[in-house]
Symmetry: C2
Subunit: 254 residues, 2 copies
């Protein structure tokens, strides 16, 4: 494994979202949020996401940067049968290995398509970088793959999700992050200073502050996160007391 591993029980991941259609706005990505939730739930920290176009050099650059920095890398998109599906070739290039039709992947496609359906374009979906292992695709057959610490998945959300279910049991996971959310009917600016003080006083916990506006005016959601569940609860209690303590001083203009 070329994966960089942390020794402190923290497992990290990078995600490369591959596709011109996301960058043009034509398709709205639904994979980033899903993968973020999924990894958080199993104790893996998603640490960086890059969205890159269907351009080999750009995919190679992103995957090589991410795989050196994080325990695992996931990619979505670009593994179908068309000319713009260049992820497998790009990953082979990133690892400096060859690429060819994989007999296991060919067997899957042969079981799914008749001989006249299994044209050259569809056979492209069986091309895997040397040394890759298959990731099963129960939805539409054509597999994803794993090479070292990089997992290559489809872009179609339902297929990506089924692949991730197959990948998850093989992953090393870390200490889970615990989070506690406090909703304060107080604008962020009124809480800010004391929040910072509370965070500073508690090593190992962070407090995220997310302002919102709804029909009742301004409010702030405060998310305490820690790998230590007891610490998360303790800090959340302090934040709760702070929020109760403060009367909202509304903005002049609402």
């Amino acid at each position: 494994m070329s994966a960089s591993k942390n020794d402190d029980g923290i497992v990290t991941a990078g995600l490369a979202v591959i596709g011109d259609e996301i960058l043009s706005g034509r398709t709205k990505d639904r994979n980033i949020g899903y993968i973020a939730d999924y990894l958080t739930a199993i104790g893996i920290d998603l640490s960086e996401v890059r969205v890159v176009p269907d351009v080999e050099a750009r995919i190679v650059e992103a995957v090589n940067a991410l795989r050196k920095s994080y325990t695992y890398v996931f990619t979505t998109g670009g593994i179908g049968p068309t000319h713009d599906d260049i992820t497998a070739d790009s990953i082979a290039k990133a690892f400096g290995v060859g690429i060819d039709h994989d007999p296991r992947a060919v067997a899957i496609l042969k079981a799914r398509y008749s001989d006249d359906q299994l044209n050259e374009a569809r056979m492209r979906m069986a091309r895997l970088p040397d040394g890759a292992d298959l990731v099963e695709n129960p939805v539409s057959g054509a597999p994803g793959f794993r090479i070292e610490n990089v997992f290559v998945m489809a872009g179609v959300p339902s297929i990506m999700q089924s692949m991730l279910d197959n990948i998850a049991p093989t992953l090393k996971t870390g200490k889970k992050m615990h989070s506690e959310t406090v909703e304060a009917r107080v604008p962020e600016g009124q809480l800010a200073q004391r929040l910072g003080e509370i965070e500073k006083a508690h090593d190992g916990a962070t407090i995220g502050s997310y302002p919102f506006v709804d029909e009742n005016g301004y409010g702030t959601r405060l998310v305490v996160r820690s790998r230590d569940a007891a610490l998360a609860r303790k800090v959340a209690e302090e934040v709760r007391l702070l929020a109760q303590d403060l009367k909202p001083d509304m903005y002049r203009e609402l």
Copy 2:
């Protein structure tokens, strides 16, 4: 300007989405798709997106990589009053300049908050890197800013959107990308080979192929894109004829 500019009428952009809450899944990003649509519509190519955590070194690294590669860089998130709002400091560091309270930004906050409301935390929102220009925020007052080719915006979608409206008229825009969409009731794998041939025969046009599944089975949306509107129409017509020409050979398993 340190912006790298293209001489071929193409204007590019990178986007840095800043925030732990996106990477943890707690907040689902709605800005990437909005900005992608917006820039495409005004003739700017969004070429890369990076999502990074609220960590100074990571923000500096992403912004410096993006601002050297693209005409413009946009950032979202991390410009509020709390301890986790470190974007302005990180941008100052990326440019190697100082940061201080900006008199124009202070005046905006003073007009919005009473003296006892304008605490130290809120005053943080008036800290701008040296040499930055303000980006107006009609929603909640606290401004974004521009330094060289980097535009720093809020993360709250309604505020980000109003800032982008203020920024857009100041941007150089390129030749617009024209797109034509053809929906084919044919699985992607059956179209793939001839699509690739059509694309190859037409320099200056690309064909994106996006498979989907609905209640009627498999289909493929084909998106022809070109900066030459006539060429986009011509290629789309060829794709339309191809799609009509083919009878669907359905997957064995649906």
